[in-house]
Each structure stands twice: as structure tokens, then as C-alpha cells.
Amino acid sequence: MNKKSATPARADQPVVDIRGLRKSFAGIEVLKGIDLQAYAGEVIALIGGSGSGKSTTLRCINLLEAPSAGSISLFGTPLQLKPCSTGDLQIADRAQLRRIRAKLGMVFQNFNLWPHLSLEQNIMEAPMQVLRYSKGEARDAAHALLERVGLYEKRCSYPATLSGGQQQRAAIARSLAMEPEVMLFDEPTSALDPELVAEVLAVIQGLAEEGRTMIIVTHEMKFAAQVANKIMFLNEGRVEEEGTAQQIFGNPNSERLKQFVSSIK
């Protein structure tokens, strides 16, 4: 496994390029102009207090949430957005969105595995339905991924029979099965019992060391400092401060960040 270098080699174009992202829920603006660029191989941690807009930012990237304004470019292609009746922006080309989503892995706080399918089937589903893998190819890939996250023995189990940590590792494997270019994590360990957090973080750490591009929303500050090239601190829908772990935790500028940093210590 390659060790991640401190500053990853930058292609001149960011793979994720978000500019001026705004989002309102029922007239209340929760994102007030977010700019976020992620270059290939970069790991970005989004931190901030509850309700600061971390999840909403992440969900706008793959349009699980419709942004109200702003532009989103992924892998060098701008998403074609058009205004819809609710006043939010809407994808103009649904096939384009599906192609792009297939390259964006998303890991949810609540795992969201499909309870009616075994782990193996959970992982095989999208490659077969979206990438048109044959059953054999999909199964081989699923087995390799389950092996990697330490769940090969559980391949025929159903999600309800597994611990939260096991479910989350399976959910990560499900995302990886699509061979995504960027992974999005929304508080992957927040729903877990404390003793199960480490096993999931270890898997994510492994992905970071492989040089994968990732955007991680997390409350695990030690983990963020360890794994991220860049940390962005969100406050009330704005990026209040961004920088390396050292800058953010060692030398915070804004009052808010100082408060936040001292509150978590």
C-alpha cells in the first residue's frame, strides 16, 4: 500500500469543484455560499457543529439534495442544472447524473444496507444493475471486497444479523464495488457504539493510504487530523476556516473555531 504523501500530486483540475453552493429549506437558508475543491488523491474532512450544514453540503454534491444556487463540477464536467418549480435547481440530464453518481461512492451515517438482500447481494446489486457486470464477475468482486473489510465469512448473512460496525464496513464495500473515483462519507461512525468505531475508521484509513479522493464529514477530530490533507470548518452554512490539521487545531483564527476546538478537547 502506498503511503499518502503530505501534499498529493495535483492535476490542474479538481475532481470535485463546488462554487457558491446555496441551499434553502422552506425559505431558511442553511448553506450560504460554499466553495469546495477536491483534487485527485486529496482527503478533505468537513467539521463543524450540529446543524452547520455538513451533511447538506455532502448531499448536494451527488444531488441527493437539490441545491438552490451554485455550480457543481465533477470530474471536469459541470452538472447541467436548471431551475424547477420549487425554486431549487434540478438536474437537466438525468442520465448524466446517474453516470456521475456511479463514480461517486456515498457512505451514510445509518449504513442504509438493503435488509432483504444478503451482504454479498447488497454488494453485487449496483455493479450488476448499473455497470452490467455478469453475476460471476460481480460475485468475485464482492468476495474480494468483503475479504478486504473482514466480512468474507459473513457474505451470506443478512444486514439485520450484523453489528453496526460490520454493517458500515459492508456499506463501504458496497460503495467500493462501483470503483468510485471519489468517496463521500457522512459521519460514518456516528451511529456506532464506541467500541465499534475503530474498525470502521481503520477501513477508511486504509482507503486514504491508497490515495483515494475522499470527502469525510466527521466528529472524530483525531481521525480527521490524522487522515485529512485539508480540514474545512463549517459554521452556519459558511466555510469559516480551512487549512491543514495543524492550522485548524493548532492555530485557529476565528472565534467560532477557537470555541469549537476548545469544546471538543
Binding site: K103, L104, M106, N112, L113, W114, P115, V130, M178
Partner: protein
């Protein structure tokens, strides 16, 4: 453990009671008409079963768009689907069957060219009307149940599909629908039995089902109780079969959903 034992004792008592009743009935009542009508009864039974299975399947397929329209369809469609369910559930099935058979059936002869069309022989047969009425009825009830089931599937499970780039139709086919069906399985048993018990109504438009056969037996033999008892037993057995089948699928799905 204790509970299971009580249940066993209670079952034995019940079995003995019915065995005694059965013996009494066999000795004291008149059953000699059965051989004469056995073939007819089996034909009627086949019709009841075919009607039950075909209308349940067709009704269930039809209920999917009706339920989906209410959960995520455009307003006018949602309204229409909701009204359909309300009307079907709010009016007697007997009335629906008669409206279809006598209502539509009396309009068709005036449609120009229809009398010469290939479809005409089917239109004067009561079968298609029975099929359509029972199908619509099942779709109306299941449309309401499935609406709740679709709405009850965790949003995150569908989002996971969207996030992986799956087509909305694939998500429906592979995730949303199977998960919704899993949720309705416990109620499906009761609704299938209700559907079974609704089938005798088609005898009123001259479909010769199980009930119609037994009605004829009573008319022809002047025997009052025995045919009714056998008829009740027949429906009870069919209901039991439905329950067994449903329990099997339920147990299978529950094994997956519980830790």
C-alpha cells in the same frame, strides 16, 4: 415452554371434539349425494381457485401503480388513485359486480361493430366481468395497503440506490417493491382470505363457482344442511391453505429481518 404445553392439550381437546362431531355427522346425516356431484364440485372448486389466484395476481399488479401514484405521483394522478381506492372500498362488491355486468353488459350491444368482433363471445360471457370486478376490488384494497408499505420503506435505502447511480425503475424493481411487499406480507394473508370469501358473489351473475354448485345441489336434492356444511368446510380448507402459504413466506422474510 409452559405455554406450548397448554397449547398442545388444547389442540388435542379440539381435535377430539371435531372428530366426534365428524363421526356424528357421518352417521346421522345424509351424504349419499356426494358421489353424484363429485365431478361438478371439483369443477366449481377449480373455478373458485382460478378466480382467486388470477384476480389476486392481476389485482396486486394493478395496485402497484395505484399505490405509487399516491406516494410519489403528480397531484392529479394521486387524487385519482386515492378516489379509486375510496370508491372501491366504500361500495359493496356485489354492487360493483352488478354495475359492471348489467351496466357495461347492456351498453356493449349498442357499440357499432362490436357484435361482429372476435371479442364478442367473451363480452356476453359473465367470466370477464367477474374477473374484472374482483381484480378491481383487490387492487382497491391492496392499493391502500401498498401505499402505506411504499411510504414506510426507509428513505435511506432508496437514497443508497440513487447514490450508486441506479435507475429509478431499477430501484423500484429491486429495492422499493420487494421491501414494500415484505411489509405487507402479514396483512396479505387476511386480505387473500377476504378475496376468497368474496368469490361466491360471482354466482349472482351466473358464474358457476363452488358456491353455485352447492346451491344447485340444494335445489335439486332438497337437502338443506349437508351441502352447506360441506361448502363451509371447503372454504375453510382453502383459507387454511392460503394461511399455510403466507406463513411460509412470512417466516422466510422474517428470518432475514430479525437478528
Amino acid at each position: 415452554m409452559f405455554k406450548a404445553q397448554v397449547l398442545v392439550a388444547h389442540r388435542i381437546a379440539l381435535a377430539l371434539f371435531f372428530a366426534a362431531l365428524f363421526a356424528l355427522a357421518a352417521v346421522n346425516m345424509q351424504w349419499d349425494w356426494i358421489p353424484d356431484y363429485a365431478a361438478k364440485i371439483l369443477q366449481g372448486l377449480a373455478k373458485t381457485i382460478v378466480l382467486l389466484i388470477s384476480t389476486s395476481i392481476a389485482g396486486f399488479i394493478l395496485c402497484i401503480p395505484i399505490a405509487l401514484a399516491q406516494v410519489c405521483g403528480p397531484k392529479p394522478l394521486a387524487w385519482l388513485a386515492h378516489k379509486f381506492c375510496t370508491i372501491i372500498r366504500g361500495t359493496p362488491l356485489l354492487l360493483q359486480i352488478w354495475l359492471l355486468y348489467y351496466g357495461l353488459g347492456s351498453i356493449f350491444p349498442y357499440v357499432p361493430g362490436l357484435r361482429e368482433a372476435w371479442i364478442w363471445p367473451y363480452l356476453i360471457d359473465p367470466w370477464p366481468y367477474a374477473f374484472v370486478a374482483l381484480t378491481l376490488s383487490f387492487a382497491g384494497y391492496e392499493g391502500e395497503t401498498m401505499r402505506g408499505a411504499f411510504a414506510g420503506v426507509a428513505k435511506g435505502e432508496l437514497e443508497a440506490g440513487h447514490a450508486l447511480g441506479m435507475h429509478p425503475f431499477t430501484i423500484l424493481r429491486r429495492i422499493w417493491l420487494p421491501r414494500a411487499i415484505q411489509r405487507v406480507l402479514p396483512t396479505l394473508n387476511g386480505e387473500l382470505i377476504l378475496q376468497l370469501k368474496a368469490t361466491p358473489l360471482v354466482a349472482t351473475i351466473a358464474v358457476v363457482d363452488t358456491y353455485a354448485i352447492f346451491a344447485r345441489i340444494r335445489q335439486e336434492t332438497y337437502i338443506i344442511y349437508e351441502p352447506l356444511l360441506l361448502l363451509a368446510l371447503t372454504y375453510l380448507l382453502l383459507a387454511g391453505l392460503i394461511t399455510l402459504l403466507c406463513k411460509y413466506f412470512e417466516a422466510k422474510s422474517r428470518a432475514r429481518l430479525s437478528s
